[in-house]
């Protein structure tokens, strides 16, 4: 499926894993940004990724826990950066270009690079 094809938002896009152009996982579609006017079709503008995008989907008490444990960062991925939508959303670019790998990079600094085959 191409990004320009019509899709059923909830069943086909929301909560799909995102894989960048280098084959690395870099998040899940946590929310969708739509654009449109009354009596006109809605259009997907971007995918929202990160714990901050849970806000409309979880009860307030659960969101407080998410903010404390994971923060409330949201990364916006414009629809133009998507190659295909299937069992995962494939990006046209590396996740780092869109700011999607920051948490991985931060944790990576703490891990010793030795001893593993």
């Amino acid at each position: 499926m191409k990004p320009s094809d019509p899709i059923k938002l909830v069943s086909q896009l929301l909560d799909l894993p995102i894989v960048d152009s280098e084959g690395a996982y870099c998040g899940v579609v946590d929310d969708i940004e739509l654009a449109g006017r009354a009596q006109q079709p809605l259009e997907v503008k971007a995918l929202m990724i990160g714990p901050g995008a849970y806000a409309g989907r979880l009860p307030r008490w659960a969101m407080k826990i998410v903010r404390i444990t994971a923060g409330d960062r949201v990364v916006r991925v414009p629809l133009g950066k998507i190659r295909t939508i299937g069992a995962a959303v494939q990006l046209q670019v590396p996740g780092t270009v869109l700011g999607l790998q920051r948490s991985e990079d931060r944790v990576e600094r703490w891990i010793p690079r030795k001893g593993a085959f």
């Binding site: 996982y25 870099c26 069992a87 948490s103 690079r113 593993a116």
Partner: protein, 411 residues
Amino acid sequence: MNPLELTLGIMTAVGGFVDISELVFAAKAGSTFGFALVWVFAFSTVGIIVFSEMSGRVAAVAKQPVFSLMRHRLGLKLGLITLIASIISNLITCAAEIGGVALILNYLTGGPYLPMVIAVTVALIASIWVLPFKWVERAYGLLGLFMVVFAVALVANHPQWHQLAGGFVPQVPDGLSTKELLTFGYFAVAIVSAVMFPYEVYFYSSGGIEEGWSPKDILTNRLTSILGMGLGSLLAISILANSAVVFGPANVNPEIPGSAALEAAIPFGKWGLILALLGMFFAVAGAAVETCLANAYSIAQFFGWKWGRHKKPWEAPRFTVTWILLFVAALGIVLTGVDVMTLVEFAVLFSILVLPLTYLPLLLLSGDRAFMGRYINGAITKTLGWFYFCVVTVAAMVALPLYFLTSGGNG
């Protein structure tokens, strides 16, 4: 299909089938009810084969792990509930396995239990850090094949073979009191849970992706599920049958995990005991690794992190930190001094409660043509899948009442 790879895969599945819960419940079931619960092992094995094959097929075709697709299918809220429930269930199971390995090491070496728990956890962490996925899986699975001594011991213990064969027919023994009937029911539910632990499916399907399965591996997946788990189940049934022959007539209740090793010691003496303990050691240690990795896989897949032990630990940093922290958390649970048998019972109880949540999305995904194309569930798999889903749902509903009514199977 490489025959050597296939054979190794099947042998790994055989050696990795038995874990601490199966050891404990097989031995207790045999001593208490003779061969009457053999059919529950056989019945549950068909269930785990059905769901493992399904999960391996989803991994090979959709090339996405089950937990990623589960979140997509269930949505964030229900997905989070499933994730949290499975984390708790797997963590308790992992703690039970670590405690079990330390107990077995204690029997083998005579060393004190608590330092053994710490040493075991450090050794398990080191093994995952050092070895790539295939070697982690194979090392524990193949060394777990020492458990074959239980099957050989069964021949040497001379069971009444026709009675054992009769145990494969679904039955409830005659003349049981209400209390005994409830205990029988509790054991049946516990065996279903122990054989169909959710971590096995998460680990198996994630392992398929780690090894780069594609639709051409569907036959390998099918053979590994059927032969590996089927033959592995025969080892568990051997433990039950040995217990029925050795412990039942002597009115011995195998209360501790090490009791099962005596089943091989009676016919083969010291070497039987050592082989049985070694087999148990590697099988249970392998289960500890699988439960911990299955938990880390679930979390990483749910949130879309880099994951997998085919990568170096620093190439999937959040995944690496997660599995290390999960081992530390499991160690913390064992260090509180809670009895291993209590942990085993809680692991079995929690798992049966999680099973329907685990298997429903898998059933839906593997039956979804949009994901699976022509590899969608066939009529037999579909029927068996929904049948076993109903079974685990009923088992989940009766598990807690049976646990309390029978004081955890103690009558």
